[in-house]
């Protein structure tokens, strides 16, 4: 029997390392394009100030990038260290996007980042601009492959179970690549990164404007960030809506849990904007609902129902029963030297339910002996805890709209040209700097916590994926990572704030505030 605390500790370690990593990733994704835009303006107009902008924001980019690389390393290795069975069971598919990410994207980004910093006087203007664009494209392609891998965990298509090797194997590369979840996830995530980059530049530029220093520099940076940010914030919301539709199609449990929909509502379902989910009583207290909206988002229709959690649990109970049969057939196939083709045909028909049998194993390791109560208990655990999902989702969406309004205001007053008179707007922008990070972290909690109890949706339960390692091993790596990452985060923030406060004077061009 697997030790449950190793599962919990390994999950905690994965969550912490992923959330830490994603402090640095979105800024890289967004700021890279902002740098590319600024430098393009420099090359097209020849105005030196845009070169200074590229170099100064590039300096902050570098401080952030170092931590992105450092925290990304752990992500690459801990599937093997802490999730060995997972790695064996799905490596045939899951390893593919990770390896292509290295070959196609990470190499590109990491090779040209050095040239971005050190190539200013070794390259022509056009060459350097090309380098900057390649860094931006590389980092975004990197995100694409990682999200293809993640999307496959959410919605595992293009794969099949091979009883000879006792693992999942790749059926179709095209299915893996064109996974609908991957497409919406990619655009939603990178657009969220662009918003992060834009708020970062907007907020810090507002600080200079409030202090009335380096005004020409700050105004131009503000303008680039406002335009880029407005377009990005609109896309995040539109594409977030597209994700809602895709989730409604393929991850019904997650959708119902986010919405705390216990019963299947009469279509079209209303959208709960506020309420207190009550998992015990299976209802939402003090719910405030907008009629029709959820049905429209999730089904794009007014007559298709959205299944509630109760009904999904009942369906899953049935899948567990089929899973037990599939598991029994598999045992027969495994023990026979030349398996009977009929047996295999029968197994193939119901093998999609095998994952549900693995889920039941947690409550009854000897599947044929499973009682009705154990099956019901396992079925009741096929859905995640509702409250954390309900809230993180609403925080994310709420912050998304708040940032959209900020960009609308910033864009409008930037065009009107009276920024210095709008101190409230500048302050709002400055204090909004943490918001995209909170929204992005909430987004990952929704995506990953909402996938529970599965590591690979309906195929491999999370608890089965862990390595056979000891308690003390996980505890020490977890403690080490928390201490290391926290110290480095403090150091990073200190340097970031110090250099942001100094502003373009750090470039040593003798043109800026602290040098005059």
């Amino acid at each position: 029997m697997l030790d449950d605390s190793i599962v919990q500790l390994s999950r905690l370690q994965f969550a912490i390392t992923a959330l830490y990593h994603f402090i640095f990733v979105p800024l890289t994704l967004g700021l890279a394009f902002i740098l590319a835009i600024m430098e393009s303006v420099y090359v097209l107009t020849g105005k030196e100030i845009y070169k200074d902008m590229t170099r100064f924001w590039g300096k902050l980019f570098g401080i952030n990038f170092a931590m992105g690389v450092a925290t990304g390393l752990t992500m690459e290795f801990q599937f093997g260290t802490n999730w060995a069975y997972y790695s064996y069971f799905v490596g045939d598919i899951f390893g593919v996007p990770l390896a292509i990410e290295g070959l196609m994207a990470f190499f590109l980004e990491s090779t040209f980042i050095g040239l971005f910093f050190f190539g200013w006087d070794k390259l022509s203007k056009a060459q350097h601009l090309a380098v900057t664009w390649l860094v931006a494209i590389g980092s975004n392609l990197s995100a694409m492959w990682i999200l293809i891998a993640n999307a496959w965990m959410q919605h595992p298509i293009g794969a099949y179970f091979n009883y000879e090797t006792m693992r999942m194997e790749l059926g179709s590369f095209a299915d893996l690549f064109f996974n609908p979840v991957a497409q919406v996830k990619f655009v939603h995530t990178v657009a969220a990164g662009y918003v992060t980059g834009a708020i970062f530049v907007l907020g810090i530029s507002s600080y200079y404007l409030l202090k009335q220093r380096d005004v020409a520099f700050a105004r131009r940076s503000f303008a680039v960030a406002a335009g880029f940010g407005l377009a990005s914030a609109l896309s995040v919301i539109v594409l977030g809506d597209a994700s809602g539709y895709t989730v409604g199609e393929v991850q019904k449990v997650k959708l119902a849990a986010i919405e705390a929909e216990w019963e299947t509502a009469k279509p079209p379902a209303g959208l709960t904007i506020f309420g207190i989910p009550n998992q015990k009583e299976k209802r939402v207290d003090y719910a405030v609902r907008i009629p029709y909206v959820l049905g429209l988002i999730a089904t794009r229709s007014i007559d298709e129902p959205i299944l509630g959690l109760n009904e999904l649990v009942a369906q899953n109970e049935n899948k567990i029963r089929l899973g037990i049969k599939a598991h029994a057939l598999l045992e027969q196939i495994k023990t026979s030297t030349t398996p009977d083709p009929n047996l295999i045909a029968e197994f193939d028909k119901i093998k999609d339910n095998l994952g549900y049998a693995l889920l039941l194993k947690r409550y009854q390791p000897n599947l044929p002996a499973a009682t009705e109560d154990e099956i019901k208990l396992a079925a009741s655990h096929t859905i995640p805890q509702v409250t954390p999902l309900f809230w993180t989702f609403r925080i994310m969406v709420g912050l998304g709209f708040l940032m959209l309004f900020l960009f609308i205001g910033a864009f409008y007053f930037n065009i009107k040209g009276k920024l210095h008179e709008r101190k409230w707007l500048l302050r709002w922008a400055l204090y909004s700097i943490p918001l995209p990070w909170i929204a992005a972290e909430c987004g990952w909690v929704v995506a990953e916590y909402g996938r529970q109890p599965w590591a690979i949706g309906e195929i491999l339960p999370t608890y089965m994926g862990v390595s056979s390692i000891s308690h003390s091993q996980v505890l020490s790596s977890l403690a080490g990572l928390i201490v290391f990452y926290s110290i480095l985060l403090v150091v990073e923030l200190y340097l970031m704030i110090k250099y942001a406060k100094l502003g373009p004077s750090t470039l040593g061009t003798k043109r800026y505030f602290f040098e005059q």
Binding site: R55, G62, I63, F65, A66, V69, A70, L73, T74, E76, F77, F79, T81, A84, Y85, S87, Y88, G91, D92, G95, V96, L98, A99, I100, E101, G102, L103, M104, F106, F107, S110, T111, F112, I113, G114, L115, F117, F118, G119, W120, K122, L123, N162, E164, M166, E169, L170, G171, F173, S467, S468, I469, Q473, S477, G480, F484, L488, V491, E492, L495
Partner: protein, 378 residues
């Protein structure tokens, strides 16, 4: 499908080996420079010059390691699962030191405080010497076999601890690894930095060059006379999907020499290793820096090929359950995955080599203290 399964299995062994070899040539160079950092520079400016010598390219070099690991995940999932579990503590030790590496290079010179800079210098030193040591120790333990087995579901179980990885035989491997990477870094610094460093580096060329040769020969003798090797007695058709426990393996003294007995031409590899180190030392002492760098890279390639040729076709031998040892025939992904990944490598690897070469050529040339005046330098 263009290639049959067995051919692809073999090709993937070469691809993963190639990724690791290139990583050692480039990323290993950065480890070597980090190891030498406290010993070849005194003043702060001198240290900054050493750091800047790798500052613009180390990120790209580290990607070879990351891609190597990702390629193992995709092409040898069971190797990825088993080795990373078995080497849990060792791998986290490597990770912790690699984690402090990017901020070490990027943040060190961002504040003027002396204590701050000394702390990062220490971190950078560790981020060179610890991975170099542990990669070597890991290779040594692969020769000895790791204590692991698979259960019915092919879940790997490791039966040993961290301390037993640190046995004398494997520590020799670790020291050899430190020596050759420090040697390689030392040769690189001579090529990249002004002549005054070259004088200081001479003693490191000699120390690490001869140190490596002695360790390499010692390890070789130990393998010939004191370590058991593995041999496949029976196995299913190599063109078929199979799992590690399905074969028969025997453990024999001098087992790791069987490939050398069968193909005596392989003895060229260890000979080239030793000769290349000696010639690299001679070239470096005569200030033929580029030639020395090429020879030093050659010695690394030859040393890694010497070890790989001995282990072939084994990837991870099991000490406790020899028949569970993983080989390149039974540790791979499905035929389809190997095929797709092979084409991904065929497309992207030449591209990577092409643009990396261009970037390296733009960033080549000697560094000196004048370069520290540039705002972007570390």
């Amino acid at each position: 499908m263009v290639f049959d399964y067995a051919t692809l299995k073999l090709l993937w062994w070469f691809i993963i080996l190639a990724l690791f070899i290139v990583f050692c040539m480039l990323g290993g160079r950065d480890f070597g420079v980090s190891i030498l950092l406290p010993w070849v520079s005194d003043s702060d400016d001198e240290r900054r010059v050493v750091i800047n010598s790798i500052g613009s390219t180390w990120e790209a070099n580290q990607v070879w390691f990351i891609t190597f690991a990702a390629a193992i995940f995709a092409a040898w999932p069971i190797v990825y699962a088993t080795s990373f579990t078995a080497l849990y503590a060792a791998l986290f030790l490597v990770l912790f030191t690699l984690i402090i590496r990017p901020p070490g290079i990027e943040y060190r010179s961002k504040l003027p405080s002396k204590a701050w800079r000394q702390t990062w210098d220490c971190a950078l030193f560790l981020s060179g010497i610890v991975p170099a040591l542990i990669l070597g120790v890991a290779l040594g333990n692969i020769f000895l076999g790791l204590p692991f087995h698979f259960d019915d579901n092919l879940m790997p179980h490791y039966e040993g601890g961290f301390i037993q990885l640190l046995n004398p035989f494997s520590i020799l491997f670790g020291l050899a690894s430190i020596s050759i990477l420090a040697f390689h870094g030392s040769i690189f610094l001579q090529k990249k930095l002004p002549a005054e460093y070259g004088e200081r580096l001479k003693k490191f060329h000699i120390l690490f060059g001869w140190g490596f040769i002695v360790l390499f020969v010692l390890i070789g003798m130990w393998i010939v006379w004191g370590v058991n090797g593995y041999h496949i007695d029976a196995m299913l058709d190599v063109n078929h999907a199979m799992n590690p426990p399905q074969k028969q393996v025997s453990v024999v003294l001098q087992g790791w020499l069987s490939n050398y007995h069968q193909y005596p031409a392989l003895w060229v590899l260890p000979v080239v290793t030793v000769l290349a180190v000696i010639l690299a030392m001679i070239a470096a002492l005569n200030v033929a820096s580029t030639l020395a760098w090429l020879l030093s890279a050659l010695s690394l390639v030859a040393a890694l090929l010497t070890a790989s040729a001995a282990l072939f076709p084994f990837i991870l031998p099991s000490l406790t359950h020899p028949q569970h040892s993983i080989t390149l025939w039974d540790g791979t992904s499905s035929h389809r995955t190997l095929q797709y990944m092979f084409w991904a490598v065929v497309i992207f690897l030449p591209l990577i080599v092409a643009y990396s070469s261009w970037v390296f050529s733009v960033l080549s040339g000697k560094l000196n203290k004048e370069d520290l005046k540039r705002v972007e330098s570390y």
